[in-house]
């Protein structure tokens, strides 16, 4: 589709230098970019409810990617994995989180440790670092284009920024869950034909996270009457 106006030889040279991505590679990259954009969206969201919604959308994107890979590369186990992770991350975790929010006084995410603009700038810098650093390493997956691995790394690092600058329990938990999404993305890129063992590993991680976060946030909420971590300053030194 590129360069219909160019002479025939030019097109061939162009195509040789920059082979057009296949439909599969292109759609995979699009989904990976979406995941990263949604991660950035979480910074912008002040309402915790919307933040949870963004997390659900991000998880859905990951599941879609798993389905794309399953179909294109003929890895039937991935369908099961996609279904399970969709059930868990698109439905159960967000529902639990929302239930937790009900009755809490803090509907709005507490302002972060930094202002919004500086936070986003920091996240962009960190994300770009992850993207390009991994790009230079030359570790290629067998199933997905290399770009997606850099994007996965960027998601992980940006999730760290989210966890660090936010000062309420829900945002920190969401930050952690989206970090897991980044790891899942990396796993899909590198190890899509992974033995079931790796699939178990990252589903299991989420299950565990749900249990612990579920219990802890509840305990926390019950005691402190607020979801802010501003009061969690007794232990230091």
């Amino acid at each position: 589709m590129a360069g219909t106006g160019l002479p025939g030889g030019g097109v061939a040279a162009l195509a040789a230098a920059h082979p057009a991505p296949s439909v599969f590679g292109g759609s995979a990259n699009v989904v990976a970019v979406l995941v990263l954009l949604l991660e950035f969206g979480m910074f912008r969201q002040a309402l915790l409810r919307d933040q949870i919604r963004l997390y659900a959308a991000q998880s859905a994107a990951i599941s879609v990617l798993a389905v794309i890979i399953a179909a294109a590369r003929d890895v039937p186990q991935l369908y099961v994995l996609a279904a399970l992770s969709a059930a868990l991350k698109v439905v159960i975790v967000p529902v639990l989180m929302r239930r937790l929010l009900r009755g809490a006084d803090g509907e709005i995410a507490g302002s972060g440790a930094l202002g919004l603009a500086s936070t986003v700038l920091l996240a962009i810098a960190v994300g770009a670092f992850g993207f390009f650093a991994v790009g230079t390493l030359g570790i290629a997956g067998v199933t997905l284009p290399r770009t997606a691995l850099g994007l996965a790394m960027a998601v992980v690092l940006v999730a760290f920024v989210l966890m660090i600058v936010r000062r309420d329990v829900v945002s920190q938990a969401i930050g952690f869950f989206s970090l897991e999404n980044g790891v899942s993305l990396a796993a899909l890129v590198i190890a899509a034909r992974m033995p079931l063992i790796l699939a178990v590993a990252f589903l299991f991680d989420l299950l565990v996270a749900v249990i612990v976060f579920g219990v802890l946030i509840r305990v926390h909420h019950g005691r402190a009457e607020s979801l802010s971590t501003a009061g969690l300053t007794r232990l230091r030194g």
């Binding site: 952690f176 990396a186 033995p195 063992i197 219990v215 802890l216 305990v219």
Partner: protein, 483 residues
Amino acid sequence: MFIILLAVPPAAALACLKAPVRACQAVSIGAGLASFASVIALVPAAARHDLTVGRYLRADAVSVVFLLATSFLYAAVAAYSVGYFRGEEGSAGFARYARRFYAGLNVFAWSMLAAPLLSSLALLWIAVEVTTVISALLVAIEDTDRAVEAAWKYVLIASAGLGLALLATIFMYAAGAHVLGQSYDLGFTGLMRAGPRLPHTAVRLAFGLAVLGFGTKVGLFPVHTWLPDAHAEAPTPVSALLSGSLLAVSFYAILRYYQVSVTALGPRFPQAVLLAFGIASLLLAALYLFGQRNLKRLLAYSSVEHMGILAIGVSFGAPIALAGVLLHVLAHAAAKGNAFMGAGVLVRKYHTKRIAAVGGGLDLLPWSGPLLLVAVLALSAMPPFGIFRSEFQIVAGGFAASRNAAAAVLIVAVTVAFLGLSLSANRMLLAPGTGRLPRGEPSAWMVVPVLAGVAVLVLLGVHPPADLAALLARGAAELRGLA
């Protein structure tokens, strides 16, 4: 033996959910002793060859060393907690609390016994994750504001660290997939056999992420921040297990990545990474030991110090240093278990964790006072205790490997740490007390396990049994990729 180790603790945990508290206590002590006995039975065999059961269970000398540390503390702590709860039996909700506590204790011990028995890096990661979940719930079990705060920090920081460790697992998988094909079980023996052919960049990335990720749970600087909080706020028996055993199990995971990386990359890069983290942790902890006002935080920073020593010892790479590292794991488990159990007695006696509020411990506690002093001396590497021997070996290995500067830093930092620890111990035990508390021990149950720990420390320091020495030598050879 594998079956006893993997089946008895969960069975004990199930029993504890229903049984009366006294039965829970008996069952837990029984499970602890059974585990310890079966690990000891594994020692002679593991000192000669690897043991494998099925595809996913495997124990070599390195795993058995870590199993010994965990199972010893499991038995000791199960006995100790009988005394720890003495006097609270009548209070409201105690039975429910104690059942949850004992069930959690047994599952926690089980997860830490399972981790060194698994042959695959992916399964190892799952086991370490399970230890995090259970221990976080145990940290929060007292349900005070401070305990919940500590548990929240612990979960968040440790889970994020384990997220990185999972990335490390994935990159290691990618490295192995180049050689071993797309579907293999990520077993580290296979990875080590394929070692020289693994792509360097991916292994390097995996090792760095593994040290950072699992290092979060080991308590390496700068990702140690959850550690003092969790250790200080958990019930004392759990603190002893966290410090003596949980940190070691996470270090075990790093050792497995180290083994693979050494065969793939040669020793230079992995040793440099461990040296950097080890020195930083050791220096930080040695300095923090001075400013501590809370008894259990003091001991927690001492754990950071000793984990730093382990990392430095591995980075030396000399056989004597590696044997010293494995011995250090055992001796640190016994010494730190003792120190926390002794600290628990002080806390029980004085009803405070503040160092400044405690005084005259030697007079008031005829057994636990001297025993805590012994534990502090043992932690500071005084002869004739095991840590003296292990640190001596590590330093000797440093000089043998011509790492003179690092060995010198190690000696200086350990001396500084000794000063910090002994100042506080002096304040609590030798300085005259102000209160008018009666002289006497809260419970004999809180003394007997500590005596056992002292016996182990002296045994390790004076004359390690021949089988154990063979086990440590083989473990050191395995770490160098020779066995």
